[in-house]
Symmetry: C2
Subunit: 595 residues, 2 copies
């Protein structure tokens, strides 16, 4: 099988989002994060990343799926080509794009490192994961490490010389980390000896980097049971400054549905030497920073796999001749018309397009809020941005991956029987994106986090801030005849969401299961609303250009896609508003034995 | 990897459907099809089939996926164990369960051969396909063959000694069979020589049977282009009564996402000898009988894969301890509660359960209509049954496979990270069921068939008959307080569907793309309605038993599941009623270049 790549980075899309929607240069200036990153510099970076994604990473995507990782002894070989691509990536300094300058990084804001997550992820999600996990490890040690720990680990992670892994899950403890058993025994020199068996650890062993810095959640001997007894440890594969191989090894890797270019490892700790990160009993809090990064990145995965699969399906729909256009208008010179003339094929393509473009706008906006939450000079703005990030992180994670799975499936559907064959390359996207709904907190957990912690936890105050902002956008564009019906739909949804939230606030007090029963549908409603808001922002810009006579095909396409969004996808809320409003007894009534 | 099987045939479900819902003994008596098949005999058959499914077929399901078929030269080896299972199946006479007595078969009605499709399909869909295709071949030759052809082929197909394949698709002709190029040249002896390259042919080569009877769609030299120029031919691998190997061979098999235990073949015809089946130019009509059988069987595939995956997920949810029940009530003696205490997990399980049980009731009812359409003594009843089958075949095919894909995905979601691993066995169901949305007419085609041919084609007359029947059920149970809200929901939906249909009838006259634009959503609405109708039938029986004091856990479960159906799944129509009503311009407006 020859290398196969058709992915093209959607640069016009990204320019529109960064420049027209987000005014990225002013935005970064305001945050003191510009550092010479004007539009031209950003565009040059984007083009470099795009070229690497298209020419180096995308051609390795299928071989990663076919060959996968190979475990032998306690070593893991990555798929052919991964190592040389990783070396190129390292030597370009891209492992440190988001790292601090003092660690040798380039201190790019999140809204720009997001370009890496999108472009490299669309091209080759499995390959990107080695770096994504390390980004999380870097931020975790940066937020929690002592100066000595920071000095030891951060420059090596920023250079890509070392990578990191996150050892959390055990056989009996997945979502419920309170059940973890790995034990850490204090040593006279202040270090710890860790013993236990971790599983489902991404990239805990591989041949890309010189050393792997495991971050391990464990319980110090004698600590209380449950989550509050957990501490976080740095457990490097090779002890720095020595030639000693630490007593941590990869005991096997999993065969799995997708992301087969990334090893999912069993990790055996046999009295491995570790250092405490942050303080004893603060393991979960210390990990928190990493978890949020991972959730946003997982949302991006939903988006980037959908984009890549859409491109394949679109190419097919334009060239595959099959059937005739309904009614008149087909080209009699060809044996048949291209698939894209058929209304149902267009419905499937437009669904993918409207979800992907709307989600992209939301995701980059949210990434900019991450930057504002850290760097804005005014504390109040930082707090507001932080509230929005906290509210919308579970939404982006779950909504974008659910839609990503549906989108890649639609891409395959457009391609018909051909799409079912390995040769089409499309079903890898379905299998790869599927994990995004499962890991980093399964999507059901996101729904509960949203409704339980983020909405009911502050009695709707973060939601009100978000809705105020949405209503501001509606207000601003209200007089526009083309946008007005969409604005009216969205405004009505805001009110219905307010009323629903109030009812759920009341019910959940006496019925704790209500959160679990309504979480999924509630999250879908908020996701549809967030995308509606973005589509109105997008359409208002496109429409202004059209009216000013400055528009082209790009703006026309935006208007038609917005219209499709409001006609075909927005009405999903009618289903979910009804379901979220059901009393939890509907799902709790059946005896467990009677299922 | 050890053989892995957890599938248990849902016998209580099947008894409820056959006995309580369908009154199968009276039903068959009325059709003159009873032939000694009383309840006891049916139950004994069901138990035999169930044992074979559980003990012989289910343990081969995973090895079929892992090892797949192997092509070498022009031969295909089936996965280990397939052949001996097929021999057992043959020797029990089950290949001829549905075949006529004069061909050595047992002349079982469709409603009973459906048990094979469900039970064997749940256990091992890939294995079952060899037989399913042959069933279609048998019916096709029976409906179209000369007495000589029937005498030659039907007994061998009924005994399972030979199997059959259906050679339709070519590289440039998938959905659009009018583009087929395979050519048949008449010979002086009345036979034909066929030349062409077919692809995507299921089970065109394998090692289970002594001979393979290919049914080949081709164009007789000089025939007009398009579908009306097509004829159907019998092209056996070995020419009967001779030792001659015909010039038809398998030129390779496809690597694909799922159903890896069934070979998807390239078939090269190099002047292969064939006999015309039916008359010249009647190829499509001759194939029609097979296509309808295949569509109903594909709907069953959606159901049977959903059932098997549900069983896995349920077992996991009952035993996997993770997290605590919201609020109070968890068991403090165990480290955590089983997953099934969580509201969101229950939502996912109940979705699978309500879809699967409702679809099963619909599918067996529809199978009985197939029998009524053939065997009822009164022509008018036969016609009515035929109308219902024709209306609901595309609904069952698309609705059940779309839900099957969503269901198996939910099963995997319940199983979390474990479900993503090969070891869990669940993702095979997703990959296997996925093809059901694609083959035998992609689901978009089913939507168009439904709305274009079945609804608009007779200006809603078949739909009115169906709705009359549904309204009859509503009427009959209207006074029942527990059922009344569901009846009211369903009655309202009937009216809304009438109004929608009327609007679409009007619009489609001037806008032919309306059918493609609305077909998908229209089909979803009709599917939800059909299941609502079945759930009311089910609930009315369960409720009567409860009131008569004859009920147990089974009836309680039915009532709670019905309630869930109307609260959580039924509201999907709110989305699709709006979408189906959109003018087709929403999907047609975007220029093909601007996607």
């Amino acid at each position: 099988m020859q290398p196969f790549s058709s992915y093209k980075a959607p640069l016009p899309e990204l320019r529109f989002i960064l420049n027209d929607l987000l005014h990225i240069d002013d935005g970064l200036e305001e945050l003191g994060l510009a550092r010479g990153f004007d539009r031209e510099a950003i565009d040059a970076l984007m083009r470099d990343l795009a070229r690497f994604a298209e020419e180096v990473l995308a051609p390795l995507n299928r071989i990663g799926d076919r060959v996968g990782c190979v475990w032998r002894g306690d070593e893991v070989s990555t798929p052919p080509g991964y190592k040389s691509a990783y070396d190129m990536f390292r030597h370009r300094g891209w492992a440190g794009l988001g790292a601090a300058v003092e660690h040798g990084g380039q201190a790019l804001p999140t809204v720009l490192t997001n370009l890496v997550t999108e472009l490299f992820g669309s091209a080759n999600h499995s390959w990107l994961m080695y770096h994504s996990i390390s980004r999380g490890g870097y931020e975790c040690i940066r937020a929690n490490g002592t100066p000595a720990q920071q000095a030891m680990y951060l420059p090596r992670l920023a250079s890509g010389e070392w990578t990191s892994s996150m050892c959390i899950t055990e056989r009996e403890a997945g979502t419920d980390v309170g059940l973890l058993r790995t034990e850490a025994v204090p040593q006279p020199d202040g270090s710890y000896r860790l013993t236990g068996l971790k599983r489902m650890v991404t990239a805990a062993e591989h041949d890309l980097a010189d050393n792997i810095v495991h971050l391990v959640l464990a319980r110090i001997e004698g600590a209380p049971p449950g989550a509050r007894g957990l501490s976080l440890f740095i457990v490097p594969k090779h002890l720095p400054g020595t030639t000693t191989r630490n007593a941590v090894r990869c005991d096997g890797i999993e065969d799995k549905m997708g992301i087969r270019g990334t090893p999912t490892c069993w990790v055996q700790l046999d009295g491995a030497r570790g250092e405490l990160l942050n303080t004893a009993g603060n393991g979960l809090a210390a990990m928190f920073v990493m978890m949020n990064i991972a959730r946003l990145a997982t949302g991006m995965q939903g988006l980037n796999q959908a984009e890549a699969a859409y491109q394949l399906a679109l190419g097919y729909a334009r060239t595959r001749l099959q059937g005739r256009k309904a009614g008149e208008g087909s080209a009699p010179s060809s044996p048949a018309d291209p698939l894209i003339v058929h209304a149902d094929v267009r419905r499937m393509l437009l669904t993918q397009k409207a979800w992907t473009e709307g989600t992209r706008a939301l995701a980059y906006w949210l990434a900019l809020q991450v930057d504002r939450s850290k760097a804005h000079p005014r504390p109040q703005v930082r707090q507001e941005a932080d509230d929005l990030v906290s509210l919308l992180t579970p939404v982006l994670k779950a909504f974008a991956t659910d839609n990503g799975y549906a989108s890649t499936t639609l891409a395959q559907q457009v391609m018909g029987g051909w799409g079912y064959l390995d040769a089409s390359g499309v079903h890898q996207y379905i299998r790869d994106v599927r994990v995004g709904q499962i890991y980093e907190g399964a999507n059901g957990i996101q729904g509960q986090d949203l409704l339980g912690r983020k909405i009911l936890g502050d009695r709707g105050s973060r939601l009100r801030k978000f809705q105020d902002m949405v209503r501001g956008t509606l207000e601003k564009n209200d007089m526009h005849p083309v946008l007005r019906p969409w604005i009216s739909q969205t405004r009505t949804l805001c009110s219905r969401l307010d009323a629903l939230t109030q009812r759920l606030l009341n019910r959940a007090e006496s019925h704790p299961d209500q959160i679990g029963a309504s979480g999924h549908s509630y999250l879908r409603v908020l996701g549809v609303l967030a995308l509606a808001w973005q589509w109105i922002e997008i359409a208002s810009i496109a429409q202004r250009k059209i009216e000013a006579g400055q528009s082209g095909a790009f703006e026309s396409a935006k208007m038609v896609t917005a219209r499709f969004y409001f006609a075909h996808l927005f009405p999903e809320v009618e289903h979910h508003l009804l379901v979220a409003d059901q009393g939890c007894d509907t799902v709790m009534a059946l005896d467990a034995d009677l299922f």
